[in-house]
């Protein structure tokens, strides 16, 4: 969705991109059934991650710090996009449904840079932290974005909308982990 795609781009999307499945080719294990093979690969992958996590870099290279940075980048980019889109808004022209006129705003370009940055740090995070942990944690943005809309963008959010947002967040909290598991297999 609007904010959506961007956001999922960073979370859902990145998640899919870098799942251990991509490494299937590197494990030449003969497997009797597809499921058992995938399970083996996941287990092996988890072991590798654990080892890497034990001697994880300190300071700026700390995966948890990078996870925070990635979330912060997504968050800020959402606000920049909204601001940029408002700046150049021409709701009357049908062409503006395509959003291409949004490129006229420098804020949109900054947002694009931030999205790329968050993507890079997310890939880095996935080198150390399993998707089933990193993905649910990264859903923090879902809470921060509506709060930020209210505080920074001054959007007036009706009680009905707050209820809707709350339901979506509870639903996401329930499915975040199972979804991450599905994506590791996809």
């Amino acid at each position: 969705m609007p904010a959506t795609c961007l956001q999922s781009q960073n979370l859902v999307g990145r998640a899919v991109l870098c799942t251990p499945n991509a490494r299937r080719g590197t494990h030449g294990v003969a497997r009797p059934t597809k499921t058992r093979g995938i399970r083996n690969i996941l287990r092996q992958y988890a072991r590798t991650l654990k080892k890497r996590m034990r001697d994880r870099p300190r300071g700026f290279g700390n995966p948890w710090l990078q996870l925070g940075l990635s979330v912060a980048c997504v968050l800020v980019s959402e606000f920049l996009l909204k601001r940029g889109a408002t700046q150049v808004a021409e709701p009357d022209s049908a062409f503006s449904w395509t959003g291409i006129n949004g490129l006229a705003s420098p804020l949109v370009w900054w947002a694009i840079l931030l999205i790329i940055a968050s993507f890079i740090s997310w890939l880095y995070v996935l080198k150390y932290i399993p998707l089933t942990i990193a993905f649910p944690l990264s859903r923090v943005v879902d809470i921060l974005v509506p709060l930020g809309c209210w505080i920074f963008l001054g959007e007036s959010i009706s009680p009905l909308r707050w209820c809707g947002i709350a339901l979506v967040i509870i639903g996401l909290a329930l499915v975040a982990k199972p979804i991450a598991q599905i994506e590791e297999r996809l």
């Binding site: 959506t4 961007l6 999307g13 499945n21 991509a22 959003g99 509506p146 963008l153 339901l167 996401l172």
Partner: protein, 114 residues
Amino acid sequence: MSILAFFFIVVSLLSFVVAQLVLKRAMEVSATSGLRNSRFLSLIAIGTALMTVSFFLTLGLLQRFDLSYLYPFQGLSVIFITLTAAVVLKEKLSLRLIVGAVLISAGIVLVSMS
């Protein structure tokens, strides 16, 4: 919310989810047969194109609606993924996933009424 807006919201989300799946597939192909083959390149191109489509549709929507209105709709992408997994991977949906999906849908209905 107009039907047109809903249409664009769903198209933007769908193209996003499909782009992810295509890119994921591309990475799998690259793991087995390297980066320089036409299959990998075409998958990457399709994925990137879909990504771009969804990005610009989002920008178009942001010109018309509040961010706090549009943002909850991204929960739909999670539902799309669940459905894809159920269909493509023939997974049984757990109770947790179903309850979560129902809550997300209910929340989205409330948000679109606001």
